[in-house]
Symmetry: C4
Subunit: 255 residues, 4 copies
Amino acid sequence: MRKRVYTILEPSAWRGKGLSPVNKVICLLILVSVVASIVETEPEVLKGREDLFSILEYSLTGIFAIEYCLRIWIAIEKPEYTGSIMGRIRYALSFFAIIDLLTILAVVLTVFGTAPLLLRLFRLGRILRLARLGRFSSALNTLQRVLSTRAPDLLISVGLAVTIHIIASTLLYFVEGRIQPETFGSIPRAMWWGVVTLTTVGYGDAYPITVLGKILGSVTAVVGIGVIALPTGILAAAFSDAMDEERKKSSGDEN
Amino acid sequence: MRKRVYTILEPSAWRGKGLSPVNKVICLLILVSVVASIVETEPEVLKGREDLFSILEYSLTGIFAIEYCLRIWIAIEKPEYTGSIMGRIRYALSFFAIIDLLTILAVVLTVFGTAPLLLRLFRLGRILRLARLGRFSSALNTLQRVLSTRAPDLLISVGLAVTIHIIASTLLYFVEGRIQPETFGSIPRAMWWGVVTLTTVGYGDAYPITVLGKILGSVTAVVGIGVIALPTGILAAAFSDAMDEERKKSSGDEN
Amino acid sequence: MRKRVYTILEPSAWRGKGLSPVNKVICLLILVSVVASIVETEPEVLKGREDLFSILEYSLTGIFAIEYCLRIWIAIEKPEYTGSIMGRIRYALSFFAIIDLLTILAVVLTVFGTAPLLLRLFRLGRILRLARLGRFSSALNTLQRVLSTRAPDLLISVGLAVTIHIIASTLLYFVEGRIQPETFGSIPRAMWWGVVTLTTVGYGDAYPITVLGKILGSVTAVVGIGVIALPTGILAAAFSDAMDEERKKSSGDEN
Amino acid sequence: MRKRVYTILEPSAWRGKGLSPVNKVICLLILVSVVASIVETEPEVLKGREDLFSILEYSLTGIFAIEYCLRIWIAIEKPEYTGSIMGRIRYALSFFAIIDLLTILAVVLTVFGTAPLLLRLFRLGRILRLARLGRFSSALNTLQRVLSTRAPDLLISVGLAVTIHIIASTLLYFVEGRIQPETFGSIPRAMWWGVVTLTTVGYGDAYPITVLGKILGSVTAVVGIGVIALPTGILAAAFSDAMDEERKKSSGDEN
């Protein structure tokens, strides 16, 4: 019996392609729960529907609580969690089990504490459910592996970007600090301009107005987009290659 | 006779390079029709030229109607649509045939209905003619194949982008929700800021003003552009490779 | 004598590495001339220095005129322009010779015509000198070859981008046309928003304000940046590969 | 004794993986010093904490002075700086030794000169410490090598970008110069718009308002982003490949 529940609930134990039907439903319920948590923060949507959202929230939390208990129960089927009590405790302390528990507690505790700050934290907890979906994706491992292999490249390019960011912000603080004290009056203030420019977001709340400031700003923008694009390009290429290899390996396994 | 019309109208049946002269003219007429539909929405252009645009529209629709009938007539030349009546019905239910019919009906029906909403829908129908050009491009198939092969990579990176989008919007809702209720007063509202920032569009209608908000916004922008660029990089590399292979294959065929 | 001038002035005839000293000076003078033409449009810079700029302009044009005559004189040394008169005429009608002549005439004609519009056109002519630098770059040929090889890929991705641009602009015209008539009141007007959003420039002079408009705008921005990035990625990869091959070939020649 | 200090202080002489513990501490102190120099420019942070920042600054400078002396002392252990006096002088004139000295002097000299402009320069000197971190990174060499190998590609694409920038700015100066004299009244002024558009930053302080200006601006944005992305794509691909080779080489060394 426990073995059967295990093959249904544990993604890596399922023999079919993709996820088991039960896990598909759980994924869907997580998405419904996250969307509900997002949408109910909008007063125009919530007004007059407070009860509806409460019922939905409590029902979903009930289902997730049952799921949590089942996962604790079947944990010992996994080779790494042997030992009827110690194995389950060790499972309960694993990353996804803690996330599961936190997101359930975030709802349960709203019954006791109603301070606005607490309620806000609890809401954050509910949106954390999104992280639970990570359990069902094997490609996230690929991304994680790529990130660790490419860590030195990424670190260098991020370090370079930070250096250029600091230099650009310092220069504009010197050039425009007195003319626009609100925006460039200190290096930390100029750094907001730096981020907005280097990422090419360009909100328009901070930009140089003197000739020298515009020249320095132009150089920053041109040099900066190259440097900012470095880690992005490296990551995209590495991730694409790793997924390719994965595909080749899995198609090799099938033959 | 039908065979000859078939080789002229069906892009895949044409033996010369590229498109047959008739299909080139049809492509041109489609473009003229779409441009006319776009331009006539501008009152300054339309004023005093209403008749001109009407005549153009009706003439083009007439030609497209004849083209549609011819395509129905020659459909049974294709191996997949055999059977003089059933084949033609099956062709008439294919994607491009339905598009053809809809764009003709959109003009014909303006004679009967003149409610503003209907007229607007009909105009949308005319612009839909752009999709008819898809029939003449073989490279679209390559793109479609690339999209389906790379679907898991793209899904993961889109999923990651959505997750970061939700987290960033939630954090800014907590930090700036009370200070800028119009912009960050609810998570859905903050999500507009999130999209504008992660895509680096940065209109400037929504941006953080507190120190903590700016720090979170900076992290969002930097992490986000990397994640948003992932699917783009993957797609560009895969599409470029696929077109390369296509070229090699076709040059191999010629030898 | 003519042979010697030929080896000095014709980039492809020079045996040393890079450009001959004379051509280096010419490149420099072209840059000086372009910078002067740009800078003198700024009243604050021009004021009181009108004569200085005039003298500089006339001297440089004099030098360029001598250079032009010399190039006409040596043209027949090139194998493709044989025939003492016909060869030179054929050279004079080549792309770079016409550019050379136009940029000289643009200055000479200012003596005769002084209508403001003419003067503006003449200034444009002077800035056209930038194109003269193309003569000295062999890598531009590589880029041109890459562009022609990759033309189908680029065309498809540009076509896709145009289609998405039109669809997005049409949708926003329908959704926000009545609320913001200045910005979305016709499809051509909405297309300015479309370009600014799809290229992620985001000036902030046009953006949706309704909920539906924001949702459609978000989808546009996300889908659009992927599509706009396609041709860029393809071009960068192809140009990088072509330059690599060039290097291998030239290092192979040396061995 | 000198030998032992050498193996500890000289990154390339350390036999363990990464940096020696002493160098790790130095890196940390550099970062602390840079962050302090940045943060103390913000009046709200500095107020009432002037002494704290002074003490921190002087202590860190003391440590860096000791480090500088030690590095001078051990310089002759390096094969390229033999000769007890001449070797040390030659080391003292190397890039990183000069940076080290300048950043120490920048603090020491504040005791003598207190003119605001001098103080600002000294502050810039302190932030220059960031460059000292370059000594500890071997990947910077890789980036430098990539930059020099790919210099022709990068130069071409930068030249192309500059050409498009000048053409776009000139055209908008002609089209909008009279309507928006502040923004497009001269080519240099229009060039600020050009940079902001081609880098897709789009602050929103400068944009075309006429129909012709918008059409030219759209073409600029679309063509421009492709050209601006060229050097970025080339650099990212080349750097990624070079790091890959490095990894293969070093894993080959270990076997």
